[in-house]
Amino acid sequence: MSDTTQNGPMLAADGTPLKRSLARALRRQKLRALLLVAPLLIFVLVTFIAPIADMLFRSVENQIVSDTLPSTTEVLADWEHSTGESPPEPVYEALYYDLFLAAEAKEHTKLGTRLNYEYTGVSSLFRSTGRGLDDLGDDYLDALEEVDDRWGDGDFWYTLMSGSGEADEDLMRAHVKRLRQLTGDALPGKVGFAPSTEIVALLPKTTAAYADFAAYTALVDGDVVAEEDPWESVYVGLMTDLQGADVASYSGPEAEALQAAAEAAADIEYIPLKTFFGDEDEDWLNADIWATVQTYSTKYTSGYFLNAVDLQLTPDGIEARPENQRIYIMLFKRTMFMSLAITFSCIALGYPVAWLLANLPASKANLLMILVLLPFWTSLLVRTSAWKVMLQQQGVINDVLVWLGLVADGNRLVMINNQFGTIVAMTHILLPFMILPLYSVMQGIPPSYLRAAKSLGATNWTAFWRVYFPQSVPGIGAGSILVFILAIGYYITPEIVGGTTGTFISNRIAYHISSSLNWGLGAALGAILLAVVLLLYWAYDRIVGIDNVKLG
């Protein structure tokens, strides 16, 4: 009694607020319910939500350029592409060391493939140049060994680079981080090397190249840095540094050897890296290629999405693709049109069947139901191939038409490997998805409604159209959503019977995923398809109302 007379929140018998008490009582129940659905939830998360999220991410992700050429893109940012001139020497210098490390890690061809989507020919450019990078360093090494043959020695280099005094651990950390980004691996372990700040200040390019070498040797190859001969890029770095460095005042380990080398360097022919790249392939001097690299050096790009709608991202902004490269808008339109055509043919064919199913006596309805479900028990490939047999020019239907004299033998109908064939085969395959929801809705409409309408004076047609049909609309809605969404993403049937004019956007996605390996574009196409389906679903909800969809 006291609970009901007091003011304030209702209290349970033990004095805790009733709401909290109730929540506690229900918590166990909720937990148990959650536990029951947990396997499915995890399954859906892992196999459905996560791949979709990954796909959406891939459609904008573009870290490969900045991961592979971090210094290059940084230096290139200051370059103005509109002048039409190739970038200055520092860009090529940065490119040399970036590319050298990438080539050692065998990552440069991936970048070539990526950039080739945007500019044809980049792929082979990267591959061929990657092979020639060593030559320049080898030449320098030969010249240096003539001065002092320890220049080819790993132990000597290790001593020189380690120097004396304070070690620059930060520089080493930056290079390890960079290598991790490039290879995409965690790369545990210790490098066991760090250059002294003194030598870093004196020979910045040499130490940078050596740090790359050290990190790679220790972390990727698992070798001891001091025992390995340095990369050719280190000699290129040394020669570049010696062009201006004042080594006379240096007093660290092996200072004498360094001073001797500096003296000799004046006699060794130094080739600027821009010249080197130009000799390797004159495309490196092409400003358009550099503009493309600059445009796609961002971590995230809209380029894939623009490609997916027949546009392209150029250094000067968004542009339409050349006429002969536009296919995706056309494919999207065709996919929509054919899915709609399939949905409508499914309604036209499925409605009467569902009506019969719902109104026949049980024994006959069961037989008919088996016929409806029969296609479900047959392999999709078998059914599709059967249509091929039926519809091809030397196929069953053409043979019958010729035999009947309706079609001349030399003029057989083309019914397969085009849109018609795809629509016929897919209508057949998706028909059960229309019939079943329609049937379940129609079963719920008592025959007394039709009788009532007739007793009120309606003709058969009026009774059907004004009374029966409106009540079967939820079934049509459910069936249409099912068929349309299945159709819009269908792959196998259009692939087999579609020819060139009957293929869907999904066939193109499959091509990019498994043949051209342009996953970003495939992902962007898939994301657009997903967005279109969601948009249509939303529109359907607004117009018809999703509450009006009954699946059973």
Partner: protein, 366 residues
């Protein structure tokens, strides 16, 4: 019972038979005529053919044999929508996707009646069932009783001369059902509509109808006004089906005019009124209504025969006492006595003498 031809008949079934499977007859030789304005109820257990008859009249089933006439015209081959018969269905069959007003307007629209006319008629029909405020509602938003009224209004809105009702009150609770029974009969009489009403509820049939046709096994067992049906059942099915009834089995010992003697199976001989027994030696069931059984000898005829009975159960029911007795070997013999101040309340196991007027004791077929 079998009034084959009547020139004034509004509805007539003539020798109508119906079979669904070609092997058994669901309706066997149905003959029935109804004058204009009559309220006739078809009453019977399920499967007795009453709904089939109604559906044949409405046009949803075709008669296998025989003629069905409406206002003198044979309608066997006229499709239902041209018969102009109003119908109320068991589950109301209100169109769920239309409002109440649209439901009512539907029969007027298909008859191509003008908009203003239609609205006036819909309003009048809704007012008639006191549902004027519900025109904009959907059927799902109405209670069962309200849906029932709308279904009724819809069947009447196009002013049919004949209205068929197929167990329209079956889904309502008892109180509402009784109220609607009254409403329906009032409307039917006020509007002068001829009504065929199908039910398996005998109280409904007795309280509402001008005449009741009791169906069993595809035949009309008796067609009579309610009082005659109850008091003068013509066979043992009707006696059993309508109201509560006691039966005692035996053999006819003698018949003379309006009385006969029946020897019960335990040897007792009682007087009864012969109804459909004709010869001595025939087996018979004697039927006595529980409320006509008397304990008070002063209310029986001089020298009337009495039987010994043992009280098995005494139930106090407020207005009456219901006593179950064992009489002549029958332990389901029921006696109903009025709860009057001087009425004795019997005890279980008590021995009493009971009797009845010979006219209340009808010897029927076995």
């Amino acid at each position: 019972m079998a009034e084959t031809s009547d020139s004034g008949a509004f509805v007539a079934f003539e020798r109508v038979q119906k079979s669904y499977d070609g092997e058994t007859l669901v309706v066997k030789d149905l003959n029935l005529t109804m004058p204009k304005g009559e309220f006739l109820t078809m009453l019977g257990p399920s499967g007795s053919g009453k709904t089939t008859c109604l559906m044949m009249l409405a046009g949803f089933e075709t008669a296998t044999y025989g003629e069905i006439k409406l206002d003198g015209v044979q309608i066997n081959n006229i499709p239902p929508h041209k018969r102009g018969i109003g119908m109320v269905f068991q589950n109301y069959a209100l169109f769920p996707h239309m409002t109440v007003a649209e439901n009512l307007s539907f029969p007027l629209e298909v008859r191509k009646i003008g908009k203003s006319d239609r609205e006036a008629k819909v309003r009048r029909a809704l007012d008639m069932v006191q549902m004027g405020d519900f025109a904009g509602r959907r059927p799902a938003q109405l209670s069962g009783g309200q849906q029932q009224r709308i279904a009724l209004a819809r069947a009447l809105v196009f002013e049919p001369e004949l209205v068929l009702m197929d167990e329209p009150l079956g889904a309502l609770d008892k109180q509402l059902r009784e109220h609607m029974q009254f409403e329906i009969t009032r409307l039917a009489h006020d509007l002068g509509i001829t009504t065929v009403y199908v039910t398996h509820d005998q109280t409904e049939a007795l309280t509402m109808s001008d005449r009741v046709a009791v169906f069993n096994d595809g035949r009309i067992q008796q067609l009579a006004p309610p009082d005659r049906l109850y008091e003068e059942p013509e066979n043992s099915f009707v006696a059993q089906f309508i109201g509560e009834n006691n039966t005692l089995e035996g053999v006819i010992k003698s018949i003379s005019g309006n009385t006969c003697e029946v020897q019960l199976d335990d040897g007792e001989v009682i007087a009864a009124r012969p109804v459909n027994v004709s010869e001595v030696g025939q087996r018979t069931r004697v039927s006595i209504r529980p409320e006509r059984v008397e304990m008070d000898k002063s209310r029986l005829q001089e020298g009337a025969h009495t039987l010994k009975a043992e009280v098995l159960e005494f139930v106090y029911m407020g207005d009456i006492f219901r006593t179950r007795l064992r009489v002549a070997g029958n332990s389901d013999f029921v006696m109903k006595t009025r709860n009057a101040p001087d009425q004795v309340r019997l005890k279980k196991g008590q021995q009493v003498e009971i009797g009845w007027l010979p006219d209340d004791c009808r010897a029927l077929d076995a």
